[in-house]
């Protein structure tokens, strides 16, 4: 997507902004197609600001204390009072192709990127290259803002439904089945942000990893959560609150490197399971799975419970 020279790009996801500007006004900022619908025209109140320039080798010279290392793509270090995020690829050698130093709250960053690398090439700066933008959003979400989950999220009749699953669980299949039914807005078939708002929860579409251009910068009140489980027949099962939290947690992207962030995510999801129905959805990958969920919605079976009898019954099912 062409953009004005020297004009910052602001990515807005779940009412959270990430503004990136180029240190050199001659550099043109470009967003990838999936991110374009999520570019903010107006300012975003809750926004991190990052300025990127060409690599000078400064990041390589900085000696930080490693806080978290994925062992491959990215690493988080503590440098004085700051946080240094570095991103590497074997394709571009040992030095990081991107290094950004943030304050502790990830509100302001200064960074450098390899000329000829994946982000800065031929005077074009592509700031929203995986996983940089997603990591920054995770860090900011973990500061009490919300939780990113591995899920397909959709809206039907104003009701927001979440279908959580790791890779291969059937999130994209679920999105396709619901899309074929019609009357549905797909927020994303892979990554959804959940935020606590107005005494309830709201789900937001994201630009990350979706297929078929289904990413929508829209949101809806969260009405029900389903843990996807492919099976020979369709069935919706209750879970104990602790099982529901555990099953959501392993399909979420908390800030693994940060105790405060992890504790926030656990509490957030524990509170959510007490207020929003969370069910295991055993399903066949065809339209009967959609009918099964719709029947549950119509019958009023999907209410947040958690009484002693409910827990006892759900525990027996967990043990099956």
């Amino acid at each position: 997507m062409p953009a004005d020279r020297a004009r910052p790009l602001v990515l807005e996801v779940a009412r959270i902004g990430l503004e990136v500007s180029a240190a050199d006004p001659a550099i043109r900022l470009v967003a990838e197609p999936a991110h374009v619908p999520f570019l903010a025209e107006a300012s975003v109140e809750d926004c991190a600001r990052v300025r990127l320039g060409p690599a000078s080798g400064r990041a390589a010279r900085q000696a930080g204390r490693t806080l978290f290392d994925t062992g491959s793509v990215w690493r988080l270090e503590e440098v004085g009072e700051h946080r240094l995020l570095t991103f590497r690829s074997a394709i571009f050698g040992r030095e990081p192709y991107l290094a950004v130093e943030f304050d502790r709250e990830y509100t302001k960053g200064e960074g450098e990127t390899l000329v000829g690398g994946p982000i800065l090439n031929q005077n074009e700066l592509h700031p929203f290259v995986y996983p940089f933008d997603e990591v920054v959003f995770l860090a900011r979400l973990s500061r009490g803002r919300g939780v990113l989950v591995h899920a397909c999220g959709l809206v039907i009749g104003g009701r927001g439904l979440l279908f959580l699953g790791t890779s291969g669980a059937g999130k994209s299949t679920t999105a396709r089945l619901w899309k074929e039914r019609g009357g549905v807005t797909i927020l994303s078939d892979d990554r959804i942000v959940i935020r606590s708002e107005g005494g309830g929860y709201r789900i937001y579409g994201t630009p990350w990893h979706g297929e078929d251009g289904w990413e929508t910068p829209s949101s809806a009140r969260l009405d029900a959560v389903f843990i996807l489980d492919q099976a020979p027949r369709n069935r919706i099962q209750e879970m104990t609150p602790s099982t529901a939290v555990a099953q959501m947690m392993v399909r979420a992207f908390p800030a693994m490197w940060d105790q405060q962030g992890l504790e926030f995510a656990v509490k957030f999801l524990a509170d959510l399971t007490g207020r929003v129905p969370v069910r295991r959805l055993q399903f066949l990958p065809d339209r009967t799975a959609v009918d099964c969920v719709l029947d549950s919605l119509r019958s009023g079976d999907l209410t947040a419970r958690g009484g002693t009898e409910d827990i006892r019954a759900a525990r027996m099912r967990d043990d099956e």
Partner: protein, 64 residues
């Protein structure tokens, strides 16, 4: 009186006791920490980055 009402309200909102138990849940570490190359949709001018070229076995482009 106020304290009494608050405590009753807190009691009503309290969840029933659930005894602790251990259960095993499956975690996909590479996915959980954004360390796998999920897709090339968001790759910039350099094309798909990360580990695809270096280690195709770890590539999860076609995952759900």
């Amino acid at each position: 009186m106020t304290n009494h009402d608050d405590s009753r309200r807190g009691h009503a909102a309290r969840r029933p006791y659930e005894s602790p138990r251990l259960s095993r849940v499956r975690l996909v570490p590479d996915e959980a920490v954004l360390a796998s190359c999920k897709s090339n949709v968001t790759a910039g001018p350099g094309g798909p980055i990360n580990k695809c070229a270096a280690n195709p076995a770890l590539c999860s482009h076609n995952a759900s």
